[in-house]
């Protein structure tokens, strides 16, 4: 690790850049909200409201003020953790998001872990034996990952493994009989059930998680193996690989001991981005698997024109994305001696 003055300056830069992007994100969501062709006041008070009630609601929402003042108000609210109310659930959107987001995190993280465990070895192997069968498998998966709609693959998987073979349970995070047995602590049901010693619930939750996580995991494997392959190939062209060969090291050892470690730092960025991209995939597949996460929440909000809730979800995904990127960027600077020069 290289903690010195330059390091802190670099870190400050990374952080500042993240804050600027975050600020831009807020402004962007604000303006998307203002694109709204429907009257947000009417949505609150209803069609039959009196003139006075309409005007009061208009002032409550701050819509009588200038656009700039509205923006300030919007930012103030967000800083105080207020994203407004959902028209659909009548809850504070922040509370709704707190409830649904852990389910999505659980799904996306599991899928990413599958992606790393299979994708990294596959990609490495594909690079080492170009045009060998692992290379073809990686390429095929790559094409699949970029060509198959995630929601459709989810449906097919459900048809085969749930309806026809009956090897996995149906929709949801746990069977109905286990519902409510575990109180929400982290929100991650696998963690909560273990912490509370509910092994039965844990087992059931795993069986529910397997299929959706595998479907998303395929996309994750596709992407991670392709990137790993590219990184390893790029490293193999470096002169230090020639040096290692001159030293008398065989290719296998070179790849494991010298090349792979040098790709880890770039891989961290890819994995972070992949986790973010899976949030998108989750929006599509959660509907299929009845997974009560952010995706299902956003879809229901969308279909009921609950714009605030959709924008709240959008903001959450954006912030998660920025955090993942910033984290990866910071890790890169901490771990890689090359980043210092």
């Amino acid at each position: 690790m290289y903690i010195n003055k330059t390091f802190f300056r670099e870190m400050a830069k990374v952080l500042f850049s993240a804050l600027v992007t975050l600020f831009g994100l807020l402004i962007l969501t604000f303006f998307i909200a203002r694109l709204l062709p429907i009257d947000p006041v009417l949505a609150v008070v209803g069609e039959q409201a009196s003139e006075a009630a309409y005007e009061r609601a208009r002032q409550d929402l701050g819509l009588d003020k200038s656009l700039f003042q509205q923006l300030i108000l919007y930012l103030q609210n967000i800083v105080q953790g207020d994203l407004g109310q959902s028209f659909l659930t009548r809850n504070d959107i922040v509370d709704d998001l707190k409830r649904v987001f852990p389910a999505t995190i659980e799904l996306a993280t599991t899928a990413t872990i599958i992606g790393v465990l299979i994708g990294v070895p596959l990609g490495t192997w594909a690079a080492a034996k170009q045009d060998g069968w692992p290379d073809h498998v990686a390429r095929f998966l790559g094409v699949l990952g970029h060509s198959v709609p995630a929601f459709w693959l989810g449906m097919i998987a459900l048809l085969i493994f749930y309806a026809k073979l009956g090897v996995v349970p149906g929709p949801g995070r746990v069977d109905d009989i286990y519902y409510g047995l575990v109180t929400q602590q982290t929100g991650l049901i696998l963690v909560d059930s273990l912490m509370q010693g509910q092994i039965e619930v844990f087992r059931n939750a795993v069986s529910h998680l397997i299929l959706p996580a595998t479907v998303l995991g395929i996309f994750s494997v596709a992407n991670i193996s392709r990137m790993t392959r590219n990184f390893v190939l790029a490293e193999l062209r470096q002169e230090y690989v020639t040096t290692a060969r001159v030293k008398g090291m065989d290719m296998r050892t070179i790849i494991i001991r010298q090349v792979l470690p040098n790709t880890f730092v770039s891989l961290i960025t890819v994995i972070a981005l992949q986790l973010g991209a899976l949030l998108e995939g989750a929006v599509l597949t959660e509907t299929i698997f009845g997974w009560p996460g952010l995706g299902l929440y956003m879809k229901n909000s969308l279909l009921n024109a609950d714009t605030n809730a959709v924008l709240g979800g959008t903001l959450l995904v954006g912030v998660t994305f920025i955090l993942l990127n910033t984290g990866a960027d910071a890790l890169y600077r901490i771990l890689d001696p090359r980043a210092r020069n």
Binding site: Q238, E239, Y240, T243, R245, K247, M249, N262, D336
Partner: protein
């Protein structure tokens, strides 16, 4: 010491009819080395030629570290009487670095950027000898001292990017000579360095090669450097050897390409 070019007994490596070709983008084979034969004894042999003449390819095809998409054939490549062309890749791995090693142009790229210097040198030793990590590191430190590295303890812990070009090349030399190979190939070892540092590296190479009585294949595009540094010179042009002579007799060379090189050098 008399270092005769044709004294077969003293030859370290003998190469006969070495050919290398690459596949082009249109899928045709394109030969870049047209069947060259030469040998290297316990001497400093210079190989000169412009870029693309096949100097580096000669070195790399002997070590069998050519990139994929190339094909190499030779009637014979023998080192101290041992035929290399028939060795398996596994046997070749044990051979490389132990008997022939190579330093390259730019230490900035030829050292692994994320490994500490000490570990990189020790790794070389541990590939070819059965010794513990501690002992390997101790001997690596000694190797750094033998190449007159200043502050070797600090360099052991440093990463390549923290070193200057000259220091990096000293590390490469220390690493490549730690197994006491019979032949060292130096592929443009000074062209990425400052002029003042170039001379230091050359005199270091001279000192170490003479001391251990090993062979040196010194590849360079700079004829004047080769002629003053080496015992014997091979001139290559478009994949062929066009001239072989003692460095002292280079002035009497007859091949038109060598003459052109000489003329170009004189005008500088």
């Amino acid at each position: 010491m008399n270092r005769s070019a044709n004294d077969g007994m003293n030859n370290l490596i003998e190469v006969e009819n070495l050919r290398v070709s690459f596949r082009t983008r249109l899928g045709e084979e394109s030969e870049v080395l047209h069947g060259i034969s030469f040998n290297v004894g316990h001497e400093k042999l210079g190989i000169v030629g412009e870029s693309g003449s096949g100097k580096s390819i000669t070195a790399r095809s002997i070590l069998r570290i050519m990139p994929p998409g190339s094909s190499t054939t030779a009637d014979s490549i023998s080192f101290k009487g041992r035929e290399l062309t028939t060795l398996s890749e596994k046997e070749m791995c044990k051979f490389r670095g132990k008997h022939i090693s190579m330093i390259m142009q730019d230490p900035k790229y030829s050292l692994n950027p994320t490994m500490r210097i000490g570990d990189q040198i020790a790794e070389m030793l541990r590939l070819h000898t059965k010794i513990g990590k501690k002992e390997a590191l101790d001997r690596s430190l000694a190797a750094l001292e033998s190449v007159h590295m200043r502050d070797p303890e600090r360099v052991m812990r440093a990463y390549p990017l923290e070193l200057s070009g000259g220091m990096g090349q000293r590390v490469m030399i220390a690493m490549m000579l730690i197994t006491a190979p019979g032949l060292l190939i130096a592929d443009e070892p000074t062209s990425a360095l400052d002029v003042s540092v170039q001379l230091q590296i050359l005199s270091l190479l001279d000192e170490l090669v003479t001391k251990s009585n090993m062979g040196l294949m010194f590849i360079s595009h700079a004829l004047h450097m080769v002629s003053s540094f080496c015992d014997r010179v091979i001139v290559m042009y478009k994949g062929n050897i066009v001239e072989t002579c003692a460095a002292s007799e280079l002035a009497n060379a007859t091949h038109p390409y060598t003459r052109r090189l000489l003329d170009a050098t004189e005008t500088i």
